[in-house]
């Protein structure tokens, strides 16, 4: 686990909440100052914007079958060509990006928060709750994520919400672990002890002090998990599970392209967007990681 703050810093934080905010900002600033972080952030932001603006950017409805234009290569009319259902691949790619984004944001955002809170609880209260939760987390971690997702999807059926749920459940234990570890390492520090002594409410302690300090490592885990979520979504698409057709996702686009490898643009464009997004997320996570580490920031 990465150490976020040194003790003197932490004591300072307790005194001055503005400094606390700025620690988070510093990390962010450091991240962006690193060229790798800047590029990563740019890629991720650009793709997020494109994904969410899909309805305004897409020249066609992603499910519209434009008869008479089946499996065409890239052209002025269809930038990425058309698929076997005569649909515009460009429109489908950006809508697919949006679907993949929604899946991962929901999965990681919701279940990440849930896992973190559960981890905080376990670390704070210890005892039986901790034991049960951690044994549960251990057994979940032991399952290969993809198999877990397959089983959950088989239970719930296809659909974008169910994919998010399947991926989210799989990412829960990682966040629970980080939350717990963070609570254990921060919880025994003087500033938290001080807060306890001054009778600040327990939940307040958790959230005002520990959570803020846990934010950077959680963000790193978040970015990595998001990349993982998008990968799992794509793999599920490859296994033929996932979003409900005719709605696109990056995974089912690539899966659909497999049977038409001779039409390179069908495979290449969604594949590149997927890879680009994953690269962006990883670069961002790397840079944040570096920015968080005071040793390396010093250089």
């Amino acid at each position: 686990m990465q150490k976020t703050t040194s003790l003197p810093q932490a004591l300072e934080l307790r005194r001055n909440s503005r400094t606390r905010d700025s620690l988070f900002l510093t990390t962010l600033l450091e991240t962006v100052r690193n060229p790798m972080g800047a590029i990563g952030l740019f890629i991720v932001l650009a793709l997020v914007v494109v994904g969410f603006a899909a309805p305004f950017i897409a020249p066609y409805d992603p499910v519209d079958q434009i008869r008479g234009h089946r499996l065409e290569g890239p052209s002025m009319e269809f930038w990425f060509g058309t698929d076997e259902f005569s649909r515009d691949i460009f429109s489908r790619t950006i809508y697919g990006l949006r679907a993949s984004l929604l899946v991962s944001i929901f999965a990681i955002g919701f279940f990440g928060a849930l896992g973190t809170i559960a981890g905080f609880m376990a670390g704070y209260f210890r005892g039986l709750l901790d034991t049960i939760l951690m044994r549960f987390v251990d057994s979940m971690l032991a399952f290969p994520g993809l198999l877990l997702a397959i089983a959950i999807l088989a239970a719930l059926g296809a659909g974008i919400q169910n994919v998010a749920l399947a991926i989210g459940i799989g990412s829960f234990p990682r966040f629970a672990r980080i939350g717990r570890a963070q609570m254990l390492s921060e919880g025994s520090r003087d500033y938290v002890m001080a807060a306890r002594v001054t009778c600040a409410g327990e939940l307040r302690i958790i959230f005002r002090h520990v959570a803020i300090n846990a934010l950077p490592p959680l963000l790193v885990q978040g970015a990595l998990s998001m990349a993982g979520a998008i990968l799992i979504e794509a793999s599920l698409g490859y296994l033929g599970l996932g979003t409900e057709p005719p709605q696109p996702s990056l995974g089912n686009l690539i899966n659909g392209a497999r049977a038409h490898l001779d039409q390179w643009s069908y495979f290449a464009f969604p594949g590149t967007i997927l890879a680009l997004f994953l690269v962006g997320l990883n670069m961002l996570a790397d840079a944040t990681n570096e920015a968080m580490d005071p040793h390396r920031r010093r250089r």
Binding site: M36, A142, G145, A154, L231, L261, A275, M283, R296
Partner: protein, 314 residues
């Protein structure tokens, strides 16, 4: 030490119990019926009932679970619904190809990952470092199945250098076996190498910044010697955990890779079993994987102790 190992193994019992209940209940929730899968879409209700009875599915769920646990404790994981063979036998015959694949992939991962990681970690912000970043990014960002499909298409099909799919046991014909093994192992290993290289880089970079390394350098030791004798050993400690996790990730990755390259193995066995609702196989294999995961983690902890005596105390 022995006590420690035994205690850890004992602690893993509740995890296994949790896991088995978890798997069992998920399977109960999953729609789809093993008997219908065997009987086919046009089967009559009576025929399906006959099969349900034969498979023991007419008993209550707790009853099924208890009898399964009872047998599992004696080492009997049941009989596959689909192939009527004992699960242990299926597992054994699927395990060899998977271990073959993961071990070769693991070797690729270790060698490539460590070398690249050390190169970059000792030369932060150099061309090496950027090159590694590019490689790791590509390795992490390209999904197994995409890389696998592309390699399959070009190397096996276009160039015709290697077979499209299948397996020949290494023990039977090492050269031919390797021809079948090389692409899947590469796909699996390269991704792992990228992940590992990143961790090695960070870890080495941290160690290189430590006082004792500076001391060693100040004493006039040359770069390579410092890396090999000081940085590597200490830098590798946290990496052992990563490696343990990576080995587990390899097993997961093999699910997809075995499918892309039509290789027999645990991944294909379990995915096929999930799809066919072959409950005994799903339960048996998943439980085995969980157990394997526990053992690997334990091994990593012991390795920790070997590399860093200070940790052994607790």
């Amino acid at each position: 030490m022995l006590v420690h190992v035994l205690r850890r193994l004992l602690q893993s019992l509740p995890v296994l119990l949790f896991a088995s209940i978890f798997v069992f209940s998920i399977l109960q929730m999953v729609p789809g019926d093993p008997a219908t899968n065997l009987a086919g879409p046009d089967a009559s209700d009576e025929d399906v009932e006959i099969i349900r009875k034969r498979l023991g599915l007419d008993r209550s769920v707790p009853e099924q679970y208890m009898s399964w646990v009872g047998n599992a404790l004696t080492g009997d994981l049941g009989t596959s619904f689909r192939s009527s063979r004992p699960v242990t036998e299926l597992l054994r015959s699927a395990l060899t190809p998977t271990l073959e694949l993961t071990l070769v992939a693991f070797t690729i991962e270790l060698v490539v990952g460590t070398i690249l990681g050390v190169m970059a970690g000792t030369r932060l912000r150099s061309a090496w470092d950027w090159g590694l970043s590019a490689f790791t990014m590509a390795g992490i960002a390209i999904p197994h199945f995409v890389l696998g499909l592309v390699l399959l298409y070009f190397v096996s099909f276009r160039l015709g250098w290697l077979p499209v799919g299948g397996r020949v046991p290494l023990t039977e014909d090492p050269i031919e076996g390797l021809r079948y093994l090389i692409l899947p192992a590469l796909v699996l290993g390269v991704t792992g190498a990228a992940v590992l290289a990143r961790f090695v880089r960070t870890s080495i970079a941290q160690v290189m910044n430590q006082d004792y390394i500076r001391t060693a350098r100040a004493k006039g030791l040359r770069g390579r010697s410092v890396v090999i004798h000081h940085a590597l050993r200490n830098g590798l400690v946290p990496i052992v955990t990563v490696i343990a996790l990576q080995f587990a990730a390899l097993l997961t990755g093999s699910v997809v890779v075995e499918n892309v390259f039509s290789r027999p193995g645990v991944g294909r066995l379990v995915v096929g079993a999930i799809q066919a609702r072959d409950y005994p196989v799903v339960q048996g294999v998943l439980l085995f994987l969980v157990f394997g995961f526990i053992v690997i983690n334990l091994a990593a902890d012991i390795m920790y102790g070997v590399l860093d005596p200070r940790i052994r105390v607790h």
